[in-house]
Symmetry: C2
Subunit: 187 residues, 2 copies
Amino acid sequence: MAPDSRVQKSRAAVLAQTYELLTEGGIGGVSIEEVSRRSGVAKTTIYRHWPSKVALLLDACSSIGTPPETPDTGSLAGDLTALTERLAEQLRTARWAAVLPSIIDAAERDPDLAGLHTTLHAEIMEPFTTVTERAQARGELAAGREPADLVAAIAGPLFYRRWFSREPLHDAAIHHIVRDALTRATT
Amino acid sequence: MAPDSRVQKSRAAVLAQTYELLTEGGIGGVSIEEVSRRSGVAKTTIYRHWPSKVALLLDACSSIGTPPETPDTGSLAGDLTALTERLAEQLRTARWAAVLPSIIDAAERDPDLAGLHTTLHAEIMEPFTTVTERAQARGELAAGREPADLVAAIAGPLFYRRWFSREPLHDAAIHHIVRDALTRATT
């Protein structure tokens, strides 16, 4: 194997094991020691690529929120419905949904991890930001209604059901949430 | 000191140190070992009162959500505005607001701690449940509108701003959230 492809393979193994540990035990479950043991990559090599645990976590999580393409159905209602259905599905099944609380918790105490949280949150919500800002530019939001408030009115109740009240995310509930938020933001 | 008051003093010291450790480092930061060291109460004594770490955490957190009296202003709008202002203030300053993400994270992986989370969540949200159910009983909610959905429409965006988007909880934003949720639930 060429040196470059060996380096790439080690790098991928380290990132995969980091993410695996994160899923299993949250941020507290990730240590360079254990990543090294599981990936078979020496600790010194890991530290050469990632100077700190935060750098490694940031890299391992960088694909968490990478959003698939942003829908462009021609209407704000269509775009938001598509995005909200996808978000609900991710909240039910995606691994990041089980990992995010650990990052939020760590962000309460550690400024570096607060930076990681900010990056991830922006990535996860990016399609919502895009479609609501596009709608505002087209004049579809009522006066005094901000894109960020519309996003919070949709993502808020979804996240609340997923992590706080732990209620199921039925399709009917999701469509109610989107319709209510839209009605208030556009009239 | 009478034996009873000595027992009570030890008990209070153990609970205070448990909560202190929880605030400092989340659930991962709490160990019976460290609680014993800080409180000066022997580990065997701690285990005699609380058979497990979860039992101890549950007890230490039991006052987290103990709600002050539920407002009864005579109108749903008045009650919800008072409650939401208080919740926003708690989210800005209360220690439980810094601790809750750690409990949510643990609840993702540990069924016992999921039980702790359910108990705490119910305590924290109890006044909202009371006033929205009271409003439904008085016929103030529109057909098909459930108290739980109204609570999610208010607490969701607040929690979203506090823990996810990390936006400030301005009074103007709070009043917007309450007004929007109420308009949708009652018309």
